[in-house]
Amino acid sequence: MFSKKIVLAFMLLVGLYSASYAENTFSKMASGKPTLIQEGQKKKWCSVCGMNLKMFYKTSHTAKLKDGKKRQYCSMRCLAVDSHEHNISLSSIQVVDVNSEKLIDANKAFYVLNSKVKGTMSKVSKLAFASEDEAKAFAKKYDGEVTDFKTAFAKANASLEKDIAMIQMKKEKKMYPMGKKLFEKKCQESINPMDYVEINQLKSAIVSNKLCQPLKEKQLQAVTLYLWDVKRVKGADEHLKKIVVNKDEKCPVCGMFAYKFPKWVAQIFYKNGQTEQHYSFDGVKDLMKFYFDAKKENITEILVSDYYSQKAIDGQKAFYVIGSDVSGPMGNELIPFEKEADAKTFLHDHNGKSVVTFDKITKEDVFKLDK
């Protein structure tokens, strides 16, 4: 009798545990065979980002272009991206119902936003349900709010810029380097990404034509992204390098050896007759002091070191933060950044006064830094 109770209690505990476990691990993957509406081999992947549709099936959307072509997306984010590039009739959009895993009309679907489930390529997940009751039940379990397609789509469009920036950061820091390594080791060099119109076309060609040795899905995605985003846009492949300074180069303004301060090094290249020469500086402040008195027409290039990445960037296109709590070898500095967003983050983190572009830097600003 007693042992039976224990067994029952144990089973109950196990049951409870597995139930709570299941709650934390909502899978966006299709449980059965997903409905894929695109044609040919490429139907397995999203037409915009190339991600595997089976893996992200429960956030998947479909649409018809004005010319009749069918497209399927991994998420509402990719749909939003595509709607800016192509003419999509909003009435043709369909979405996967989370519970039945069938395609339903998106305009009639009920969306749960901001639930605990992580978004696909977006900070906020947008899951669709056929009926309001189902959506409410889901929202009760995983939190979130119930809305319709229009509001959800508007929100996706509103957060699009941020989402793209977020994904781009991940691609640049993680996927491209990985894709490059894989491409160089496992793939045929002859792959020309220009031959393909859509990213999923390229991806299916890699698989079906065996352009690469067998790859796992994640690796395949990395190679495809590298080929699509980096190789197709020529020149983007050349990753920026650090500024190189010889040991005998002194800053012409303050006389200090520039190589001792690799974090701050900046250079001006100028034409001297036929040859090109350069000066190295131990900071942008000294570079500017030199620049104000220099003959501008001889200057060919200005390089500065990006504060965050430490890579060499074009000084004339960079953004500078004035008056922060970070000081360089010569005290207060103008701190250079490649991206404006980075400069703003720095401004916020280090009590900066303002962000300026190269042409807005005045003599007054620079000499004020020394006071």
């Binding site: 950061m169 991940k170 965050y308 990445s309 430490q310 890579k311 970070v326 280090h350």
Partner: protein, 395 residues
């Protein structure tokens, strides 16, 4: 002024050394032992410092762990993507690894998962990845072991493969594909590298979890800012920066070198006792010898030169033999007793070799601590005796 070495004086000095054979042998032995002790202390500290520094240099700049109920817990791999979005971070890599306790040998192996095509946070891994393809190793059930690990395994008759016991009690057999050399001896002594999938299987780590996340920050000045941002983003995390680790390593080292300092002081004290004894005066016999030398026509500077040669020969010979002994003791025999002071029994179970670091400065330090002092201690009393009137000394 030509200053040729007077070979007759040198000959006389050597003969004088032999005349007082027993006394000089005793001085020589004590001197040799002292220089040997001093220089081995310096050699060991130098080597360990070098080893620690290279360990610290190889450390990732920021390590992020998840803490639950005060204990380390597996972290979501999605956290890495989130960290990657912080400006100033260039890499955020989830690591899958753990300690595997090998009961037969009583040692812990660090089992490390390697992803072939992801960025590697360590230079030594880059070379390993170039040599072995971990995707292929995964499908052929192989692993790469550190040189020290290989020895431990061979001692336990695991020559070609090793059986890992998984948490559910079943075996996971992996064969040894080869060995690798780490940046530091410490590293290659206990590390096993294999594909991430295999590590997940051995330690039962879920697909979307990792042991910790290492973060790379190109500008070291930003490390603290980024560490605090991560902490704000994930309040349940423990964020360890390389500076923190360096400080704690340094603390252990400093504590241990305190013990060495005690040894060092004792050795030096003994040395100065002997010197004091010598400098406090010459025996009447030695005084008489100087007196006779002067009586037969030696000048003061001849006497001093002869005494200088005597002292120099004995002290320099002792110094040379002492340092050579120390070299052999530390680097050939791996400092059997002294090492125990540094390598705590509990901190490191697998033995590790002291890397050979030749530092000319320590040699000079030992030289100037011993040879000139001994020479001075011999010459000064001789000079005092030599400047006295001859009849006063002989009488």
């Amino acid at each position: 002024m030509s200053r040729k070495i007077n070979l007759y004086l040198v000959e006389y000095a050597i003969n004088a050394l032999f005349r007082n054979r027993s006394k000089n042998i005793f001085i020589m032995v004590v001197f040799t032992l002292l220089t040997a002790l001093l220089s081995s202390v310096f050699f060991i500290t130098g080597s360990i410092k070098h080893e620690l520094q290279s360990t610290v240099d190889a450390l990732p700049q920021i390590v992020v762990q998840k803490i639950k109920a005060g204990r380390h817990y597996d972290i979501d791999t999605s956290v890495a993507d989130e960290i990657l979005n912080i400006t100033g971070v260039s890499e955020a890599l989830p690591r899958v690894w753990g300690y595997y306790y090998f009961e037969n040998a009583g040692v812990n192996f660090s089992v490390m998962g390697i992803e072939q095509y992801a960025q590697q946070y360590k230079k030594s891994f880059d070379t390993v990845v170039n040599k072995f393809d971990f995707d292929e190793l995964d499908s052929s059930k192989q692993m790469v072991v550190g040189e020290g690990v290989k020895k431990v395994m061979e001692k336990n008759y695991y020559n070609k493969y090793f059986n890992f016991i998984k948490p559910d009690g079943t075996f996971k057999q992996l064969s040894i594909a080869g060995t690798f050399k780490g940046d530091t001896k410490l590293e290659s002594n206990d590390m096993i590298l294999m594909s991430t999938e295999n590590v997940r299987e051995i330690f039962d780590i879920a697909e979307n979890k990792a042991t910790d996340i290492v973060v790379k920050v190109p500008n070291p000045e930003e490390i603290t800012t980024i560490a605090s941002k991560i902490k704000l983003l994930y309040p349940d995390s423990r964020v360890i920066t390389s500076n923190d680790l360096q400080v704690s390593y340094q603390n252990i080292f400093d504590y241990k070198s305190g013990l060495f300092l005690a040894l060092f002081t004792v050795a030096l004290f003994t040395f100065f006792m002997i010197i004091y004894d010598k400098a406090s005066g010459l025996s009447s016999e030695e005084k008489r010898e100087i007196g006779i030398l002067k009586a037969i026509g030696w000048r003061v500077d001849n006497v001093l030169k002869e005494k200088f040669y005597e002292a120099f020969i004995i002290s320099f010979l002792a110094f040379l033999v002492g340092t050579l002994l120390a070299f052999a003791f530390v680097y050939l025999f791996r400092a059997p007793l002294l090492r125990e002071i540094f390598v705590g029994y509990s901190q490191l179970k697998t033995s590790f070799e002291l890397p050979f670091v030749f530092d000319i400065q320590t040699l000079f330090l030992v030289f100037f601590l011993s040879v000139p002092i001994y020479i001075a201690a011999t010459i000064i009393p001789s000079w005092r005796a030599a400047t006295l009137e001859v009849d006063e000394v002989i009488r």
